[in-house]
């Protein structure tokens, strides 16, 4: 962990640890207080529910590890949801990040028209969760959608197919939707790229480094804290992906787009198995915890920190 590494570093000059403790807690106090009031209680309650049979309508009944046992022994949909989610995370997220970084690189220089371009490429991300997106995606990839319109005009379509509803393609349209909405990591990359002091590039130019060399020697290393951030957050958001399948496919056809978070929601709010849903949530937390921990652990080797002070 970058930050923790920083903390671990015994820095000279700071030995007024009492003052620092006080200042540290003062600065983080908003979060700490909020954490205790608004988060710890609901989280612990959710943990407690995960050991109960809780149908939302009556008081929870303690059943120990039963929910967890069912999940791993007899729940096929749990396995389906996991595999769909892994497919999604391992395809959509890398594509989205690469795309976001690539486009951000194109848009970092303040040339003419670039502000307009940035806006155009950010547009998809601001319609993401709206009701309109479901209708829109159907207009594009439905049986009567624009894609089929183009294909049939080219004579490539032999029968009506709904790309959203077909079991072989539905997950891919959702992945495409996710990649298409690369605006938020792009924006973060842009901000990160802009933070790299231009003097670095100037001196590299003087040394005769070309574009690719500059990218590898300066841009990438300087951007690693931001890459780390985007990687961690996108992996988390990938595992928790919900809205797309909730409003577009509802997990169908036959669970081909059953995202983990959607399954959890179905169990909790549609089947009224809130206890089971909470157990699912904690298992997801553990899975994501492992991934995040791996990313953070390896980050020591690839994240460059300006503030480490070599």
């Amino acid at each position: 962990m970058v930050n923790i590494q920083t903390v671990k570093d015994k820095r000279k000059g700071i030995n007024k640890s009492g003052y620092n403790n006080l200042a540290g807690y003062a600065f983080i106090s908003p979060w700490l207080i909020g954490f205790i009031i608004f988060t710890v209680f609901p989280m612990l309650l959710a943990l407690y529910f995960s050991f109960t049979e809780y149908d939302v309508l009556s008081t929870p009944k303690w059943i120990g590890l039963e929910n967890y046992r069912n999940m791993f022994t007899s729940d096929d949909r749990f396995r389906t949801a996991l595999s769909v989610t892994f497919q999604y995370v391992f395809t959509a997220i890398p594509l989205r990040l690469i795309f976001a970084l690539f486009i951000a690189m194109l848009f970092v220089k303040n040339r003419k028209l670039v502000p307009l371009y940035r806006t155009i490429y950010y547009l998809p991300s601001i319609i993401g969760g709206s009701v309109a997106v479901a209708v829109m995606w159907r207009q594009l990839f439905g049986a009567d959608g624009a894609l089929n319109g183009v294909l049939s005009a080219l004579g490539l379509l032999d029968k009506q197919i709904s790309w959203i509803g077909n079991p072989d393609t539905s997950l891919w349209t959702l992945i495409l939707l996710a990649v298409w909405q690369f605006g938020s990591p792009m924006l973060i990359f842009l901000a990160g790229l802009k933070q790299i002091p231009s003097s670095y590039y100037e001196s590299a130019s003087i040394d005769g480094a070309n574009g690719i060399q500059q990218f590898v020697k300066i841009t990438l290393p300087m951007l690693t804290p931001i890459i780390l951030f985007n990687l961690v957050m996108q992996v988390i958001s990938g595992f928790m992906a919900f809205t797309e399948s909730y409003i577009i496919t509802q997990g169908g056809p036959f669970d081909r787009t059953l995202f983990y978070a959607l399954y959890l929601f179905q169990q909790g709010f549609q089947f009224y198995n809130m206890g089971y849903a909470c157990a699912l949530a904690w298992v997801l937390l553990l899975i994501m915890g492992v991934f995040t921990a791996i990313i953070f652990k390896t980050s020591n080797y690839w994240v460059y920190s300006e503030s480490k002070g070599e």
């Binding site: 008081t59 049986a143 009506q160 197919i161 509803g165 079991p167 169908g252 036959f254 549609q270 009224y272």
Partner: protein, 454 residues
């Protein structure tokens, strides 16, 4: 040092949360006790008729429904100036999540719109008020209502929901396409064999889909088919702890028929049907199909509006050797009153007004289905627009060709519905045979029902 801090912190957090949860738990149980103690009794001492009361009322629906219901609330409040309603209206999307959350926190609205899928679940947990005592003491007037229209709201001999409109499944078809294909229009005596021939012929002659969907869709269609094979059969058993039919052959027959129709192209693949989210996106509206075989009768209004041309309604197919009618009258939705309401009398007065008042029903024009009171029906008949008139006539036709409604959908229904839909789709894409699906459905559905019955 770091450890000590974190231990302290976690301890603090635990304390806070258990303090909060502790009291929430205690409250929950005490309200439960009240609920069970108060069941069936009417506590009139709490509220006199002149007391000013404010109540919450919730429903889901469309813009039309919101406007009409608000108008009716206004009219009611003019009549009962001491009662104020705080209306909370939303879309269907999210409605049940909101209700479930409120139930968990013990803050359900006083009066709320209820659905047939959920009523048993909420009633069995003691969250709904039994209205039978109010019928008995005359505060809720059901004298002009026939028993069939009330039956859907009765669970374990208690009346937990008042039906707001009669509905039944129907098939809506475009007579013009039938004429083009040279096929006779369906009669009420249409059998499954006739149906299959009809849709196949239409498809061959016109290239259109014969039907948008299998009649009744995967769930109600199967239920309909099963019901036709014996008075004791239904998809769910009477007590809702297992499936209510014993012969997997019916499942197999029903879905083999669907598979056959899908393979010939007479009805579309699920991927095409799943894109239809609202009536106006339907294939009949866009003239891609001759018929829509899985739709509730009150939706004729929406479909006819969207199509802008004359459409007709007919009954779902009968079985050649049928033992009883599969068709039944279904409550479109209910009003339920929460067990915890402080003002049961006033809430009942509103429900009574809502189903019996002629002026109020003239505002709503059977938007929630055919009104259950015969007096209201008579009063509305002369002024009905065409589509509503069709709906009234259709429900009359169903009454002649129906059997009583089956048991309410038990806890676990939502999960079984998902399971069946998934199996249906796998059948259509030939991932599983109808015979294997029948066995799998029985196994898994019974497991879900048993789990929920505990």
């Amino acid at each position: 040092m770091a450890k000590k801090w974190s231990v302290l912190l976690i301890a603090m957090a635990l304390m806070t949360s258990f303090a909060l949860f502790g009291c929430s738990n205690a409250d929950d149980t005490s309200s439960k006790d009240n609920a069970s103690a108060g069941t069936g009794t009417t506590d009139t001492s709490q509220s006199s008729d002149n007391e000013k009361v404010t109540m919450r009322i919730t429903w889901w629906g469309s813009q039309t429904r919101h406007d009409q219901t608000l108008k009716v609330l206004e009219m009611f409040q003019e009549k009962y100036p001491n009662i104020t309603f705080e209306p909370e209206f939303t879309a269907w999307d999210g409605y049940w999540e909101k209700i479930a959350t409120e139930a968990a926190a013990g803050s359900l609205p006083d009066v709320w719109q209820q659905d047939y899928q959920y009523i048993a679940q909420y009633a069995n947990k003691g969250l709904l008020l039994d209205m039978q005592p109010y019928v008995d003491n005359g505060k809720l007037d059901l004298t002009n209502v026939d028993q069939n229209s009330i039956a859907g709201g009765i669970i374990n001999d208690k009346l937990y929901g008042i039906n707001l409109g009669n509905n039944s499944l129907c098939m809506i078809y475009d007579p013009e396409i039938f004429k083009q294909a040279g096929v006779a229009e369906p009669t009420p005596d249409l059998t499954w064999e006739d149906y299959v021939n009809t849709v196949k012929t239409i498809h061959e002659k016109t290239g259109l889909y014969g039907d948008e969907n299998i009649p009744g869709n995967y769930f109600h269609g199967l239920n309909h088919y099963i019901r036709q094979h014996g008075p004791e059969y239904d998809l769910y058993s009477e007590d809702g702890t297992k499936l209510g039919y014993d012969n997997d052959k019916w499942f197999e027959e029903f879905f083999s028929m669907e598979l056959d129709l899908v393979k010939t192209g007479a009805i579309p693949l699920p991927e095409i049907r799943n894109e239809i989210k609202t009536p106006e996106e339907g294939l009949v509206v866009s003239k891609k199909a001759a018929m829509v075989g899985a739709i509730n009768s009150n939706q004729i209004v929406a479909v006819a509006n969207a199509a802008g041309r004359p459409l007709k309604m007919t009954l779902l197919p009968k079985a050649k050797d049928q033992v009883r009618e599969g068709q039944y009258i279904k409550p479109s939705m209910f009003f339920s009153i929460s067990q915890d309401t402080k003002y049961p009398d006033q809430a009942v007065a509103f429900v009574d007004y809502f189903i019996n008042d002629i002026e109020a029903n003239k505002v709503m024009m059977a938007e929630r289905g055919v009104p259950i009171s015969s007096k209201v029906r008579e009063a509305l008949t002369p002024s009905l627009p065409d589509a509503q008139k069709q709906m009234f006539d259709y429900v009359d036709l169903v009454i002649e060709n129906s059997s009583p409604i089956g048991p309410p959908q038990p806890a676990g229904h939502a999960e079984i519905d998902k399971l069946l839909k998934s199996l249906e789709e796998q059948i259509c894409y030939e991932q599983i045979t109808p015979a294997d699906a029948a066995i799998k459905f029985r196994e898994e559905a019974n497991k879900i029902l048993a789990q929920n019955a505990q």
